[in-house]
Symmetry: C2
Subunit: 153 residues, 2 copies
């Protein structure tokens, strides 16, 4: 099963968070299944917060950011009745705004589950709801406004 | 001149974004001057967004996150009439929520300026306004609710 990011066109695949063309990056992989998207990621020990044993907030925001734009792209393909990577003009979103709520410390050293749902999709704008969970408990929630990127001719 | 983060107690200095005790981290350094805090950071080339030449959104959120909690700590010391690193009980904030607005692409390869101001400080809660600029132009703004961390006995 290919990840949503595996269908990004090569010229947009350089993202540190999720780009397959970035050799140093995190390579987050997101999938769509039914009405939900999901990604799994286990942060390396160096991504500690100020206090050891918890993940630092910036990485958590990064995971929501990359998963959110992937979620927007996947639902936009679906809304147009298209399959990801169908060879047509690629659909790619960028982040307009992202609000991240840190509900509780996120433990370091275990696999995190990031999930996304589509709240609305109108024109070029998608609103995505996001959660990040550890061991079944939601640690972080997010709300993203994603905007479809239209390449200049 | 010592950075705000240089005064964090050793047990809270492990943050990937700004902890002096994290050998792999970004080591963001924030300073307070008058009614404003500032930090400067030049992202390495690997922190590309999807499209080359721009900084990836996750790193920008990370810079605002670390600078925001540092800003909250610095203003809280001031509000109590204390100097940073005065040897008294350390004041340290964590992020409750962070909203990031991406106004325009942030160019990669030049020094970024992150600035913070205090909107309000009541009890354990501080609201911080943040901007991130490149070459004099604001690329990203942020709004943080920071909460003072009280270590459990």
């Amino acid at each position: 099963m290919h990840a949503i990011q595996d269908h990004y066109p090569a010229e947009f695949a350089h993202c540190y968070g999720c780009g397959s063309a970035n050799p140093h990056g995190l390579h987050l992989k997101s999938f769509i299944e039914g009405e939900r998207t999901h990604a799994r990621f286990t942060p390396a020990a160096m991504y500690s917060g100020g206090y050891p044993g918890n993940v630092y907030g910036g990485l958590l925001a990064s995971l929501l950011d990359c998963h959110g734009t992937a979620t927007a792209a996947a639902f936009a393909y679906r809304a147009q009745g298209r399959a990801l990577g169908d060879g047509g003009a690629p659909i790619r979103f960028v982040t307009g705004s992202l609000k991240v709520d840190y509900k509780r410390p996120t433990p370091l050293g275990i696999e995190l589950l990031i999930e996304g749902t589509l709240r609305s999709l109108e024109g070029r704008k998608a609103v995505i709801d996001l959660t990040l969970s550890a061991d079944g408990e939601v640690c972080v929630t997010g709300e993203m406004l994603a905007v479809q990127f239209v390449a200049k001719a």
